[in-house]
Each structure stands twice: as C-alpha cells, then as structure tokens.
C-alpha cells in the first residue's frame, strides 16, 4: 500500500522533470539564437521570470500550505536576493565602463579617482559620490552570492526566532510579516539607505564579462538556470515533505499543540522551514532580477507578498505542483492583461480596459475558485479526473 503510493509520487517527480526539460528544449528550439526566432527574446525573459515566480511560489507553499505559517512577507526575501546580486551587476558593469572611458586619459586613474568615478556614476542620481559601506563586497561576485543566501537567511532567522519563540501564530504572524516587508520597502525608498532610494538598481540585464553574448543568448541561459533551479527545488521539497520531517511539518500545521506534547520543539521546526524558504526565495529573486533588468523598493511592497499567497491559493496549496500551476497561470495572465495585449471590451458608455480591470478579474477569480474548490485549481481538476474511492 505505502509502496504503491511512493511509486506514484516518484512517478510524479519524474513526470515533472520531463515536462520542464521538454518545455525548456521547446522554448530553446524556437528562440532567436538557437531556433527560428518564433519566440522573441522578451518572451523568453517573461517565461524565465515566470519560472522564478514558480520557485518562490513553491517556497510559499511549503511555508504556508505544508507548515501552516501564512507568511505575507516572503517577497521581501525575493527582493533582497535581487538587491544582493544587483549590487554586483551594477558595480562591476560601472567599473568596466569607467575603466574603458579612462583608457583615453594620459595618466591611469588612481584608486580614489576610480572609486569616485564609480560612485558618481552609481550614486549621482541620489546626490552622492561616496560608495556606501554596504557596497564593500560589491566588486566580488562570490561574496555577493554568499550575501544572497546570508542576508535573507539571517533576517529570517532573527525575525522567525523572535516571532515563533513568543508563540505568535495565525493572523498576528501574517500582520508581522507584512510589517517586515513594508518596513524594508520604506527603508529602501530612502535615498540614504545606500541602495539608490526609489531609483533602485538598474541595467541588471547586462551581465559584466559576458555582454558580448547579447541578450538573446543570455536570456536563454537565465531561462535554463531558472528551470534547473525549479526542478532541484521541486525535488528537494518533494523528498523533504515525503520524509518523516515532512510528516512532522504537516502535523504542526494540523495541530501544533499536539506535536509539542509529543516532545518536538515546534519552534525550531518552524524556524527551519521559515529560514529555508526565505533563502530559496532569495535565490529565486537573484535569478529573476537580472532577467527583469531593474529592481526598486516598490517590488518589496506588501501587496507583492499577498499576491504570492493568492497564486498559491488559486493553484492549490498543500500540493507542490499546485503552487507552480497557480504562479505560472496567474503571472502569465497578469502580464498578458496588463501588457496591453488583451483586447479591451467596449460597453457603449464604458470601456473595460484590462490594464486597470485585471485586478478586479483576479479578485473575482480568486473568490470563485476558493468558493468552489477549497484546494484551488488542483483540487478542481482532481475532483473531475480522480474518482473518489
């Protein structure tokens, strides 16, 4: 009995891996550099970004759907990952440009002149010349990559430790996570935060050192990297949730007190899941923003994290593929409707312009799906295709 279930699950992961790989190959063979160019580079970027959103949706599903912590702040970690990688991208590229410009000069630039020139380029927009101390590792890709993991990891650890230790749960915890992402966003909006205030970091699509490859090739590279990371995270979460550890995580969701009386230190388990998903969200962000090209503090606004929960709820929480379907479905529709491609509907005296009305449609869709199917799209499909025993 248990074995056959395991077989079925193993088949699920295999099917998932094959589907993602075939999909990636399909996209590649119709892309501009490696195929007939039917799929534009900008659409490859949209797909790559969507895959990154699927990854953070997986993290959200594990923290909410499996562990029962309704975090409405995971997009803060996503954004932080983007900022951490963005610092290197922006600094390195500016340094290369400044050095190239300086080759015409008679005297080579001194260390201070170089630093000032870079500082002027990056921070002139917020009226500064000095490079803030938080940029001290920005010249090293390796160190910034470590920060992609360390910064959200430490933030999630401190936040989670304080919140879980005080037994903050349910809606109170959700409000705290909203406060976390709001506070971070407001801080980053300030010019003296050292991260260019509301301008954010830009030009991130230009990857220093491999710019000669062109955006067509780089976009395919990031698309593949995102897909491979998606598969690895799916496999990781799948095996984690299938193990005894996963049993305990879902038991905490179902009855936290009972788990505590079994002798498990519930807070440590929650903290583990919270930090792990924060780090994965951050890495997803670090893959997303080089494809988006720009990051600014508005990305960390509280609404972003709420959307994330909506995706997972629409797709079907408590099932990994539910989260992926929800995120892919909603974010692709979102970019279609808000990108101006969807035809507007004239109603005589009034025209429905999807750019403005998309959120209304999304709201309706959310309400309808949650009324008719507790487990989102996945639950709906299961009701149709899987016969109850």
């Amino acid at each position: 009995m248990t074995d056959s279930i395991n077989d079925l699950l193993a088949r699920h992961t295999l099917i998932f891996t094959i589907v993602v790989v075939v999909f990636s190959l399909f996209i590649t063979f119709f892309s501009e550099p490696y195929g007939n160019g039917l799929i534009s580079t900008s659409f490859v970027k949209t797909l790559g970004k969507t895959v990154c959103l699927c990854i953070i949706a997986l993290a959200m599903d594990v923290v909410w759907g499996y562990c029962g912590i309704l975090s409405l702040g995971h997009f803060a970690f996503f954004g932080l990952g983007g900022y951490m990688i963005g610092m290197w991208l922006m600094y390195e590229r500016t340094a290369i440009i400044v050095q190239e410009a300086a080759t015409n000069e008679l005297l080579p630039l001194t260390e201070t002149e170089l630093s000032n020139a870079i500082g002027n380029q990056i921070f002139g927009v917020v009226g500064g010349y000095d490079i803030p101390s938080i940029w001290m590792f920005a010249d090293s890709l390796g160190l910034q990559l470590i920060l992609v993991i360390a910064v959200p990891g430490i933030l999630a650890f401190i936040f989670g430790w304080l919140a879980f230790r005080s037994r903050v749960t349910g809606v109170y915890l959700s409000i705290l996570t909203q406060a976390l992402t709001l506070a971070l966003s407001l801080y980053l909006f300030q010019n003296d935060s050292g991260l260019r205030g509301n301008n954010g970091l830009s030009g991130l699509q230009n990857i220093p050192g491999i710019e000669y490859l062109g955006q067509e090739v780089i976009s395919i590279g990031f698309f593949w990297a995102s897909c491979i990371f998606l598969i690895s995270i799916f496999l990781l979460f799948h095996s984690l949730m299938k193990s005894k550890f996963g049993l305990i995580i879902t038991s905490i969701r179902d009855n936290e007190t009972r788990v505590r009386f079994l002798g498990y230190n519930v807070e440590i388990y929650k903290l583990f899941i919270f930090v792990l998903t924060a780090i994965i969200s951050s890495i997803a962000g670090a893959l997303y923003y080089p494809q988006a090209g720009i990051i600014n503090p508005a990305e960390l606004a509280p609404i972003a994290s709420i959307y994330l929960a909506v995706w997972v709820a629409i797709g079907g929480r408590g099932k990994l593929y539910g989260a992926i379907i929800g995120a892919a479905f909603v974010s692709l529709f979102s970019s279609w409707f808000t990108g101006g491609q969807a035809p507007d509907i004239p109603l005589g005296i009034f025209t429905i312009e999807w750019v403005n009305w998309w959120t209304v449609l999304l709201g309706f869709g959310f309400v309808i799906i949650t009324i008719f199917s507790e487990n989102g799209i996945i639950g709906f499909l299961r009701n149709i295709f899987v016969k109850e025993k």
């Binding site: 009995m1 248990t2 984690l240 193990s243 005894k244 550890f245 049993l247 305990i248 879902t250 038991s251 179902d254 009855n255 007190t257 009972r258 505590r260 009386f261 079994l262 002798g263 498990y264 230190n265 519930v266 440590i268 388990y269 583990f272």
Partner: protein
C-alpha cells in the same frame, strides 16, 4: 519511597478565580490512580500544570525521585531528577510524561501508522529527523502496539475516518510509542460504547504493569472498574482520597456529586 511525581502545594488562579488551591499529590512507579471531580474542580488545570502548559503561582512539581547516599552525613538523602516548573512542554514530554487529551487529538489527515510513527521515541532534533527512516525493530514495535490498541486492521486508514473510540485508542497508542514513564489520561471513556469502555479498562490496567498512569474521569462507574486508588477533587483541592468504596461513602463527596 519510589515516588515518580510529586506535586507540592500548588496554587493557580485565573483572573482572581482559584482554579487550584494548595494542592499536593503524588504517584509512585507503576501505579494506577484515578482523579475524579465535578466539572470545574480543576482536573484539566492540574494536568496542564504537570505538562507545563500552565505555570502555577505557587508550589513545586518534582519528577523522578532517587535516594542518594550522603558520605558526609552517613545517610540517604532524597533527591529529585527534575523540577518540571523549569521545563517547556516539549522538554517535559521528552522526560517521559505523555498526555492524552479529553477530546481525542490525533492527526486526522494522517494514517494510523503515520500517527504512531511520528510519536515514536527517537531523537526529536530536526537535523536528526531529516534522515530518520523506519527500521525493522520500529516497525515491529508499531505493529505490536497496533495489536494492543486493537487497530491492527486499520493501520493504513486515515485517522479522521476512525470511530470516536478508535481515535481514543490511537491516542493511547501514540503515548505508548513514546515509551513514557507517566501517562496522564483525560476522560478516556467519554463518548464510548459500553463495549469500548470495557476494552479501555483492560488497556489501562495492562499499561500500569510498567508505567505510572493517572486517569482523570468524572464517571464513577468507569473508575470503579479500574479498581485503583481514587482522589476526589473539588474546587481546586482534595476532598477525599482512598478506595472507591471509601470515597463514595464520604458525605462531602456525596454532597458534591449528588447534592446539587
């Protein structure tokens, strides 16, 4: 001399209401005892205090008596392994105190087998749990316990589908896989059929062969069948203690139970 748990003069009040009033209690190793009392007598609060969910305003809860030979004084001195007031719920559970709740609380979405698997006495550290696999001995132990709680044929069923009585047994089974030293059992017979009651009495008696068991009930008949020492609680303190015959002939007890 072989006391496992000793509660010393505990008091606790909620918003001025004294739920427990200077209560002292103790239970020996492998002893079966029952606590009865009308609603609001403080039975559940008493259990909450032992398991660490509620901290008393006064008093002590000591666990694991040992005698230590004092070389200097040339005599035995009694020492206690643990003061439960210093511990969290999960630490107390790990010391070997298992609790069965009044309403059956099993993990409804998991199978009977999985319920027992996660209750199993093993390292509870998350990093260790990550790599724990079920081995043959553990599988055998779970199967043995499934037999004891008469759920052998139900092991792959989702716990939520079980009958009320079966859920009660499953919860007792979950306590057994924890291999506790002391079991606190809150109203095990509530909502059971008379047949299930009889089986429950058997299970509880069997348990006290190598564990200490405290059963909290308000059903006199069920307690009579347990044939053990009975403590009557009333308004947070002990009204009477002794055999069921002794207790039920006590005038005050009769008044508390029947007089209203």
């Amino acid at each position: 001399m072989n006391t496992l748990l000793k509660v010393e003069k505990i008091s606790v009040s909620f918003d001025g209401f004294k739920a427990i009033n200077s209560l002292s209690y103790s239970i020996g190793k492998n002893e079966l005892k029952a606590i009865i009392g009308p609603n609001g007598a403080g039975k559940t609060t008493f259990m909450d205090i032992i398991t660490g969910q509620t901290k008393p305003d006064e008093g002590n809860v000591l666990f694991g008596e040992r005698s230590v030979w004092l070389e200097s004084d040339q005599k035995y001195q009694v020492v206690w392994d643990e003061n439960l007031l210093m511990k969290s719920e999960s630490q107390i559970a790990l010391l070997g105190i298992g609790r069965k709740f009044q309403r059956p609380t099993v993990f409804e979405l998991k199978t009977v087998f999985e319920n027992l698997f996660i209750s199993m006495k093993k390292n509870r550290n998350p990093l260790s749990v990550l790599f724990q696999k079920l081995n043959r001995d553990e599988k055998n132990l779970i199967e043995k316990i499934l037999g004891e709680i008469s759920l052998k044929n139900e092991q792959d069923r989702i716990a939520g589908e079980l009958s009320h009585g079966q859920k009660q047994w499953l919860e007792i089974g979950m306590l057994l896989t924890q291999e506790p030293k002391l079991l606190l059992i809150d109203e095990p017979a509530a909502g059971m059929t008379s047949n299930e009651r009889r089986q429950t009495v058997e299970i509880l008696k069997k348990l006290s062969a190598d564990k200490s068991v405290i059963v909290v009930e308000h059903d006199m008949e069920f307690v009579k069948d347990l044939e053990c020492e009975v403590t009557v609680l009333h308004e947070g303190s002990i009204l009477s203690e002794g055999s069921i015959e002794h207790v039920s002939s006590n005038n005050e007890v009769i008044e508390v139970y029947l007089g209203r």
